[in-house]
Symmetry: C2
Subunit: 221 residues, 2 copies
């Protein structure tokens, strides 16, 4: 019985890793479709988001089922409760990737942002991909250094997010209203994606320390 | 023992209602500060968000504590798990109110949106307040008709959200880039606020039916 239970807890962890791997694919393809105006890739991201949603629901059902049957306590209970919360963040990260891909699709064959902002968005996208990859490793290993690295990269995303507004509101901005809207939304999506990763990192930390933390981090814009 | 447990479940429900009442105050003041450029009210919303965060964390701790001590099953387990998830939505709704108030504060003494959009935002704000009030009643009574009403009002918010983009991207838009940025962000915040209410309504429905539902609703922009 005890062994079955430990097996189930490993299953919960494996499924979190599996979903986070799909999130890596999703944000990689979404940012590429966004930066390169690749409509095929954008459509693929949008179509694949259902898979992330389904896996998140299935994981929630497994977690609730474990709570009902095994009635875990202490660290085991924390693992199951954290999984429920982390799956919600991962599901939302998939949604945000989808939003980025939708922006690429709306404006196709045009690019979403004017040339003056392309480097900034390429950098934000690369950071989001890097953060998602570190998240997979964090969920696999619970190594606290990875949580720290994710937090540092989130700071870089926040700085780029602010720099987008500096550019859009600066004297040299030549964009049309549509460029301003798209840049604002795209920047917000990239920033929220990283916020969710930080939120997950805090939940993984809770597994180690037992200190509960808020559902979400306040975000700046 | 059984009676203590039922008392604790009521406590969980009461605390959700309490937090949702603070969210009503928060969105009421935030939208008023936004629409009237009331800096005092904006500061108040920003200062009060900590209280919502604290209560949400305290509720999570209570819920986890109940899971550990009482090891609930069936509907009791669903109540506790739902409370954990609903508190995350309420906490986020408080954050979004704060973001709306922050926009008012940034632009003070100017108004955040140009006059052509003021009616639209007044309507969106009034709908968000209405939705938050219905949420309090829904959490108090679990009346499924309220869930349905919240969903209908969310549809109205979505329609206004789309109309903001129609106006900002229309031929007659005279706004500067700053107006475009603010209108885009503000509209997104108003829309996300309502999405979280719908997400809570689905979780309340889960209490009745036992069918688990995704962490969040996909949102449009």
């Amino acid at each position: 019985m005890r062994e079955v239970f430990q097996q189930e807890l490993r299953e919960v962890q494996d499924r979190l890793v599996e979903i986070s791997e799909l999130v890596v694919t999703s944000i990689t393809d979404a940012t590429e479709s966004f930066n390169e105006s690749n409509i095929t890739l954008a459509e693929q991201v949008i179509a694949n988001d259902d898979k992330i949603d389904e896996l998140a629901i299935a994981l929630d059902e497994l977690a609730i089922n474990i709570l009902a049957r095994q009635q875990p306590v202490a660290r085991d209970l924390r693992i199951v409760v954290s999984a429920l919360r982390i799956s919600a963040n991962l599901e939302r990260m998939g949604d945000i990737s989808e939003h980025i891909a939708q922006l690429a699709r709306y404006r196709f064959p045009d690019k979403v942002v004017p040339s003056s902002l392309r480097d900034t968005f390429a950098n934000m996208g690369a950071l989001d991909v890097e953060i998602a990859k570190k998240l997979v490793q964090l969920l696999r290993t619970q190594d606290p250094r990875l949580a720290e690295e994710i937090r540092n990269e989130d700071d870089k995303v926040d700085a780029l997010h602010i720099s987008v507004f500096d550019q859009v509101l600066g004297a040299t901005w030549k964009g049309e209203a549509v460029d301003t809207v798209d840049s604002t939304l795209a920047s917000r999506y990239h920033e929220r994606f990283a916020d969710h990763a930080v939120s997950i990192a805090k939940k993984v930390q809770y597994l180690a320390t037992g200190d509960w933390i808020p559902a979400d981090t306040p975000s700046h814009h």
